[in-house]
């Protein structure tokens, strides 16, 4: 098993005719993801790589029975795309687009919530359940089917970690890049709960960053609810205060949200925190013995 996506996932690509949309549609299709359609207003009736294109998400959902969508439209239009997906009945929306105004994300997230849809992202690499389905821009070849769940605020850092896991023979049940914006959809708490409940997951890697207090909250949750071994990593331990480090999320504000606070909270919850990404496989292996 896995979480969120698997062989039964029916995926729509919003913005399928754009450069990125088309490129990653091809990659996902190669991986075996069940892409049932895409949208591009005004291009309804055409196709991309044999995949039917619709004018609206309403049409697309009606005709394909899709349950999941991935968004590649430009930032200006991405929040609207999230709302359209939710309104059309999509239950899991993965928004890759970056640079969306935060107030737009707040609205879109709230709207999705009211429509009973889950959001991953925005500004995220998406997710993969290796061997089953890939909905994102993650490099497929580094993943391997297995029993480790990976959840992360970062992109390439996740790949780095997954690469080491795979190189050490530790495949993944699901790996999710949650995105680095100030407001994002599914986060550590919800994903930890899913991984804890997923029978295929036997160990968990959580990759955090400075800023906010999501890691502290996750640690508290893990202490009380997660019985599976968890290894963590926090990026930005030596980032200077107040500097924005690429991810808008990674701002140290005042005394909370520092790497030291996060690591302390995680270790207090029984999480092993790695110093370097390459230490993660061995730490996890020890805990899973």
């Amino acid at each position: 098993m896995s979480i969120l996506i698997d062989k039964s996932t029916r995926l729509l690509v919003q913005g399928i005719t754009g450069r990125d949309g088309r490129f990653h549609t091809e990659k996902m299709k190669e991986y075996g993801t069940n892409i049932v359609g895409g949208t591009s207003p005004g291009k309804g009736g055409t196709d991309v790589l044999g995949i039917p294109v619709f004018d609206t998400m309403y049409d697309a959902v009606n005709q394909t029975d899709a349950d999941t969508s991935i968004i590649f439209v430009p930032a200006k239009f991405a929040a609207d795309a999230i709302m359209e997906a939710a309104d059309a009945g999509i239950k899991l929306i993965i928004c890759i687009s970056e640079g969306i105004p935060t107030l737009d994300v707040i609205k879109a997230h709230r709207f999705a919530q009211e429509r009973g849809a889950m959001l991953i992202g925005p500004n995220c690499p998406g997710l993969v359940s290796p061997g089953k389905s890939l909905a994102g821009i993650l490099p497929a070849q580094i993943f391997k089917e297995g029993n480790i769940g990976v959840i992360s605020r970062s992109g390439t850092l996740t790949y780095e970690v997954v690469y080491h896991l795979t190189a050490n023979g530790m495949g993944q049940s699901s790996a999710i890049g949650m995105g680095g914006d100030p407001v994002t959809g599914l986060y550590f708490r919800e994903l930890l709960e899913m991984l804890q409940n997923d029978p295929a997951t036997e160990g968990i890697v959580m990759i955090g960053e400075i800023g906010g207090n999501a890691e502290e909250q996750a640690a508290a949750y893990i202490k009380n609810h997660v019985t599976k071994p968890v290894v963590g990593f926090i990026a930005g331990q030596f980032a200077p205060p107040g500097k924005q480090m690429g991810h808008a999320g990674a701002i140290i504000s005042g005394s909370s949200g520092t790497a030291a606070d996060k690591i302390a909270a995680m270790e207090a919850a029984g999480i092993k925190v790695a110093k370097e990404p390459s230490d993660i496989p061995s730490l996890l292996k020890n805990m899973m013995k």
Binding site: T102, F111, E160, I207, Q237, E276
Partner: protein, 376 residues
Amino acid sequence: MKIHEYQAKELFSTYGIPIQRQILCTVAEDAAIAYNMLGKEEVVVKAQVLTGGRGKAGGIKLAKSDDEAVSHAYNILGMKIKDYTVNKIIITEAVNITAEFYISFVIDRNSKSVILIMSAEGGMDIEEVAAKTPEKIHRFSIDPFIGIPDYLARKFAFVLFDKIEYINQFVPILQNLYRLFINTDASLTEINPLVITDREKLIAVDAKMTFDDNALYRQPDILDLFEPTTEERIEADAKDKGFSYVHLDGEIGCMVNGAGLAMATMDMIKLYGGNPANFLDIGGSSNPQKVIEAMSLLLKHPNLKVVLINIFGGITRCDDVAVGLLKAFEEIKTDIPVIVRLTGTNEEEGRALLKGSRFKVAETMGDAVRLAVDSQ
């Protein structure tokens, strides 16, 4: 993006939030004119800098004559507050304060919404209040589709005030501050303190606003208020080219794909005893042109002694990355040592391509960082 207090107050005023009259000065002598224009016995001279802690640094002074105003202006203009030079001051009416409150709207990650933060403990460091006496901080999450209708504004108002006179003044302040937040795509609007004067009027005595960089494209009026420092200008230029760049004062230049990996790289440099000269995320791909531009940015750094390139080959494979790097460095003229660490898809092919080139090639992040620290 940050703006000055005086700019935030001008926005406040446009949105009907009461402020004291203020006059902006950049020359100390003008403080006398300002003093006389205000026509009040007591004025406050306030440094305008894009950082906090002005009071403690001596950037806020009371003046009871035009001479005194000018003398404070002399002292404050040119002053350094946390690396920021004071180039502007405002002269503003002093008010007699009977109570102080803290009010702000801010983006909250946890509730994924705008939240209103209020406290009767205004005028102080709100994070200290939050840490020591969290019960004195009131937080309310705002539904983006509902906003703050009258009934909600009244509900919030009655948390801080009893008297209907204050309720009636506070309700529009709250509603207008929220409207300002939403209309300008702010990430913070803060009044600290909001005061009650001896005439029972509510006034915003200080004002802070920051804005969502992602939304500046649709906020031309706000963007006009931007006064970047030299470093911020470099960072903004980098952003236009698709990088994320932060200037730091170490010696090891970093070029990494991905923000998380970049931060992890800097952490390891520190861990191994080095100091990063910058944070530079060159984004997903690493085509030669981007590498050339990134390198020219790094080479401007006065302290630069060595460059560490840390690339994870994902969608773009390591062998392609290696070809790109080789191509880029045909055009880059520098003697500075460059360490390259390539991991990911086709990493061995990639590393093989770089063998015998000007690059020092490392296999692990640990090796790469050690090499960089040693090459300084």
